[in-house]
């Protein structure tokens, strides 16, 4: 068998076997680029931000609240609603005690900037749940999820490499990618695979790297053993280097607002977006002000001050900054998570992720279509194909429907429900289960094409009604958000409408196609 043939075979099968898992990972992972925005929508208690409040006022308000609640904190953190973050919040760290555990406990409150009081937000995992799904899955132990998602990523890496080998003349093929007169799933599959190829390669390899300490344990274990030695290198790589530790001598820290103006001067035109104090109230307190970088993979260095005197302080350099391997790892992490990206680039990341999802979906559909052609010639083995057809539908459309259900649950579940966050998460999987069962239940009654139309129409409605849901269950609504320039809230509702439109267009196009074999219970319908 020629090399090219074996690579073609490998490409098909490595993509197919874990195609649904990869589809899941691409869809949920892509939502992660907007996890904070999603969280904001899912906590409608957070009031509209008044743009007239200055940064110093924010800092003073936050410090007043911290004085009330964070009296013995070992570290405090004030997050200002600038740049990407729509949140005004405070964090404080409680020291390790028998109750809080060996690493202590972090507390968090979102504050109302007008009153200085904490906003009581509903219990929710927000957008971070969707994002974590893509590598940690759900309901299964962490190590197993990391192994499965890494295996899927490895299959994809092999598919990319074999795909490039098959498409050696990548540019030529790309520019004449319409293989026949008819547009086909293969064309779309090629489009979704080739266009964002740099993204796919980067996201796959960096994704594997981010889980490597869980998946490639034998390697560090060979040098450090398992147990203490291994934990040592893990801590060295991942723990922040403490340049000054607490002395236990109490001295009041300088109020940070007084240093704010100085920090602004030193920031080269960047805005200050966070204020962190390590060891507040201690002789060795350090005040750190984060500079919101305009953009860039090399993030701006934060500005440090001595907490007692207010003098500028240069912390010792983290030894890992001189480590090329660690720097490369950090760069890959930043690239994977798009942490450096401004809105335009972040939307492009999201689009590329969706194209990745589209690539997996069209791949699965393409496989089913080709199989169907073969079987209608030979007439054998339709049962397995029928299974794949139904699972394709339930996964490709079922997952987006399930994600919409997660948003619906956020608004419909009672605020004081016990384990509310868990039930929101369960809702996603319950509805996904229903979407998977639907084609099985209605298999004998109607054609595959109609089943697709049913789910497409359902998806259209469930997304289109989300802005209505928003207006009905909160004091925010699209009109108000647009008028006040609340782009996070408006952006969410608008995106839901755009998604609804996409499903509607798909339903419309599907309806107009003439099915090849249109009988009720044949595994037919969606034409090539």
């Amino acid at each position: 068998m020629s090399f090219r043939h074996s690579m073609t075979w490998l490409h098909t099968w490595s993509g197919l076997v874990l195609g649904w898992l990869l589809y899941f990972m691409f869809v949920t992972g892509s939502t992660g680029y907007f996890d904070e925005e999603i969280l904001r929508w899912m906590q409608p208690e957070i009031p509209l931000q008044e743009s007239s409040i200055s940064a110093s006022e924010f800092i003073e308000t936050a410090e007043r609240r911290l004085d009330q609640v964070a009296t013995n904190a070992t570290e405090t953190y004030i997050e200002l609603p600038l740049g990407r973050s729509p949140f005004f919040s405070i964090w404080w760290h409680e020291a390790a005690t028998p109750e809080t555990g060996p690493r202590g406990l972090w507390h968090n409150e979102k504050l109302n900037p007008n009153t200085g009081k904490p906003v009581i937000t509903r219990e929710t995992e927000g957008g971070e749940f969707l994002y974590r799904l893509h590598y940690a899955l759900h309901y299964i132990p962490g190590w197993l999820a990391y192994a499965l998602t890494s295996l899927a990523a490895m299959f994809m890496l092999v598919a990319i490499i074999s795909g490039v080998i098959i498409h050696r003349r990548i540019f030529k093929d790309f520019f004449s990618f319409r293989r026949n007169k008819q547009r086909s799933w293969l064309d779309l599959h090629n489009l979704f695979g080739v266009l964002p190829l740099p993204f796919h390669l980067m996201i796959t390899y960096s994704g594997l790297m981010l889980l490597m300490f869980s998946t490639m344990l034998p390697v560090p274990a060979s040098s450090y053993g398992v147990g203490e030695g291994l934990r040592a290198i893990y801590d060295e790589v991942f723990t922040e280097h403490e340049s000054r530790s607490a002395t236990g001598v109490s001295i009041n820290s300088k109020p940070t607002v007084s240093l704010y103006k100085d920090a602004l001067k030193r920031s080269d035109g960047g805005l200050i977006n966070y204020v962190a104090i390590k060891h507040p109230g201690d002789k060795n307190a350090v005040i750190e002000m984060g500079v919101l970088a305009d953009e860039g993979i090399d993030q701006h260095k934060p500005i440090h001050y001595d907490g007692v005197s207010g003098d500028l302080y240069e912390p010792e350099e983290d030894p890992s900054e001189h480590s090329p391997a660690k720097s490369f790892y950090d760069t890959m992490e930043i690239l994977h998570e798009g942490l450096f990206a401004r809105p335009l680039l972040r939307w492009l990341y999201f689009l590329s992720g969706l194209m990745g999802a589209g690539m997996m979906a069209t791949g699965s559909l393409l496989w089913a279509v080709n199989r169907r052609k073969k079987h209608t010639v030979s007439g054998a083995g339709l049962r397995g194909l029928a299974l794949v057809d139904r699972l394709n539908l339930g996964t490709i459309l079922g997952l987006p429907i399930a994600i919409a259900a997660y948003f619906w649950a956020n608004r419909l579940l009672p605020v004081d429900l016990a384990s509310r966050a868990h039930w929101e998460m369960n809702s996603l999987f319950i509805v996904w289960g229903l979407a998977l069962i639907h084609p099985f239940l209605r298999w004998k009654k109607t054609s595959l094409k109609n089943l697709w139309c049913e789910q497409l129409l359902f998806a259209t409605s469930v997304y289109a009604l989300i802005p209505v849901l928003n207006a009905a269950t909160s004091e925010h609504h699209l009109g108000k958000a647009l008028v006040h320039g609340d782009w996070v809230m408006a952006g969410f509702d608008l995106s839901m409408l755009v998604l609804a439109m996409c499903f509607a267009i798909a339903a419309h196009k599907l309806r107009r196609r003439i099915p090849i074999l249109g009988t009720a219970n044949s595994a037919a319908g969606v034409s090539a």
Binding site: K172, F174, F175, D187, V194, E295, G296, I297, L345, L348
Partner: protein, 111 residues
């Protein structure tokens, strides 16, 4: 330099796509048969535009960020080409003219 780099990228991909015989057949009203030299010239100019895009981006945003933007721009421009070639192939020469104009103007204005 966002507009100028994107226009250059778009221009480059238009030139590259027109270098293929099949695309020319669909895109141009009268199928113009080009000599080998002319086809090669189209390809070289196309790639030159892409290289120019890379240089403009690297100059504006630094090397690492420039590369990221290059990948993003090529993806977007290639998507535009693919859609045009599928649904409205006659649009490609128009896009070529538009992107050429846009590139010249935006480079002059340093936008």
């Amino acid at each position: 330099m966002m507009i100028s780099s994107f226009s250059l990228c778009l221009l480059g991909l238009c030139l590259l796509s027109l270098a293929t015989k099949r695309n020319r057949k669909n895109a141009l009203p009268n199928f113009i048969k080009l000599s080998l030299l002319q086809t090669r010239a189209l390809k070289y100019f196309g790639f030159a535009c892409l290289i120019a895009t890379a240089l403009v981006l690297a100059g504006a945003k630094g090397l690492s960020l420039g590369l990221v933007y290059l990948a993003a721009w090529v993806t977007l421009a290639a998507l535009t080409q693919a859609l045009l070639l599928s649904y409205q192939p006659r649009g490609v020469p128009l896009l070529l003219g538009a992107s050429l104009t846009a590139a010249v103007i935006s480079l002059a204005l340093k936008v």
